[in-house]
Symmetry: C2
Subunit: 418 residues, 2 copies
Amino acid sequence: MSIGEEMLALAIAAKQASRHMAVASSATKDELLLKMAAALEERSAHIREANEKDLSAARENSMAAAMIDRLTLTPERIAGMAAGLREVVSLPDPVGQISGMWLRPNGIQVGRQRIPLGVIGIIYESRPNVTADAAGLCLKSGNAVILRGGSEAIHSNRAIGTILQQVLETMGLPPAALQVVTTSDREAVTELLQLDEHIDLIIPRGGEGLIRFVSNNSRIPVIKHYKGVCHTYVDAAADLQMAERICLNAKVQRPGVCNAMETLLIHRDVAATFLPQIVTVMRQSGVELRGCEEARTIVDDLIPATEEDWSAEYLELILAVRIVADFEQARQHIEAYSSLHTEVIVTNDYRISQQFLREINSSVVMVNASSRFSDGNQLGLGAEIGISTSKLHSFGPMGLEDLTTRKFIVFGDGQIRD
Amino acid sequence: MSIGEEMLALAIAAKQASRHMAVASSATKDELLLKMAAALEERSAHIREANEKDLSAARENSMAAAMIDRLTLTPERIAGMAAGLREVVSLPDPVGQISGMWLRPNGIQVGRQRIPLGVIGIIYESRPNVTADAAGLCLKSGNAVILRGGSEAIHSNRAIGTILQQVLETMGLPPAALQVVTTSDREAVTELLQLDEHIDLIIPRGGEGLIRFVSNNSRIPVIKHYKGVCHTYVDAAADLQMAERICLNAKVQRPGVCNAMETLLIHRDVAATFLPQIVTVMRQSGVELRGCEEARTIVDDLIPATEEDWSAEYLELILAVRIVADFEQARQHIEAYSSLHTEVIVTNDYRISQQFLREINSSVVMVNASSRFSDGNQLGLGAEIGISTSKLHSFGPMGLEDLTTRKFIVFGDGQIRD
């Protein structure tokens, strides 16, 4: 069987299995996830053995320490995977929910009901815990899932996948509802991305290179975000102590993630006070600051910011700072450089806060809070399957509901159309 | 300027304009549409002059009579376009609506608010009334729109587009919010479909050939449906008089549209009664019937149905009929041949009706009503911009709300993340 035939067979089996998952009750799905969590814990040693094979290959290939860390499964991390599955159990099941039902003049009742998307493909890189996390969310939302992790984690992913599949089998559910692609050939991904008749959605999780590859080669809709260039705008009417706290948290609490702040915009009227204040605390936290010309007239030892700095996603302790004349200039800056991820205003001016909320159309728009809250868990969606910075289907952090769609249901009593 | 450069300039202008439309109030947008309706009526003679140019070219090219009919703009049809715009005025504006707002344990309030998609591209064929209809829906939902009709309607579309643009200008709104592509070169479409940085959604309206072309060549998300193979299943517990009425309406009231019935499934227990009954009334309406083997043992002069009949979208007075042993066989038939458009069950059995609603995941699923109700207007969405039979973003008939997405809004009072 060629890789293409293998992927087609796998996708057809997934579609079949998805029909069973679509009608499984919430109780059945919750029992499934609880048993999966227990199975991962029981077979923790077995998973670590498989993981050790990946790790020794990684060491042989002189993989970078940070990559090896992400690849490593400790007993704690396996327990964390189990805990993640149990957390998904506690989330409400979106499938079957009816959002609105209305009566038409002719007496038919019309409603919209949530149903699973069908088959979800997850393409990811080294972290093997994604295997369990993504599977839990896809199965709870009534979908089948095809998981394709990085070749460097192949033994770990295969071990986790086999354990989870066995739980499906023992519950009388189709094991093809969860399939791990274990061929390391990259062609497997290319082939999967062509199967738009059988796979309903692709979610790539990893670096920009992976996401661009998937996006450029897929006939299947792809949920993606390339980067997070998050702005915080400190308005003239900001509480500057609050602004300091929010900016510091947004930049340094975890700089390597997409919801960390990359650019700070400061209203001219408060720049002389706030800029020296924030430079001091940022530098105490090891942040390198790059400023516009006007900022450098206030704090003269800032590194000059170049045009590239305004669209940079540093993902490290670097911050670009720009002084703006007014709200409108802040808005224009965000419009020009935003990645549509998350933007924050700090202000006590009611009118300006409302204007920011209305005029800034990034996927998450906040008043007086740290951009670090921009993830599914913090926003209250429960676990997050991904984040979308394109507007179709979902915009922003995605939870269980975003793995479903809505069909129309109609109750009549014999109506026909005139 | 090459066609590519021309389309890029047009798309960039549309994106700029979309930012103005996104913050226009409902009152402004409604006033805009009312003035557009009035302008179309006032300049009806001018539009018909332009239309006459298209019509004489069509006659010279020996265009088929049905095509010429679709291309023709009479005073009544122009009044119909104006009425369509006024109907959109009466629909609620989805932009700004907040669907749910919740409080997190740390005190931040999180909500999801509807915002426009941005720039919508409509690619359509001969009917010039689409120009006004689609523009009305896109503008009311706060989007900018790029309209690319068929080259055979180019003079008509240009005239309508110019009139509508002038109304934008007189209201101080950016005319680039509504642009008609008037080059007849097909390359214009190919170029537009590459501009995924500037255009947010493409909606093709026309035959399967157009839709496949757009879908296969677009880097921008495409909302599409290829065909409607709608099933009606007459269950053992059906009221057979009601079933007759619903089936007849679904097949003959307007056979040339996607929500007409193409396949009738009859439960074996009622076939001996119902099949002869429905064959009689269908034949009285000029319907040609094609039956499975079992059906032909009951009504022996049915044309034998072949495998192709089960997936045919006839769009004319032909009906495929199959006798099924039970609900499960009906479900399997629909699963195998459905286009995910609309399926109907006629039954008085509560349990079976619920099972049908649960297990059939087409975009519209009905109990005891004609499939002809499956359009945006009949279902209560108001005017329809299109229909989607793929599950991402929207599934089924699409109204104003489907031209928007949701962003997260967050209200804090200084919260930071631990």
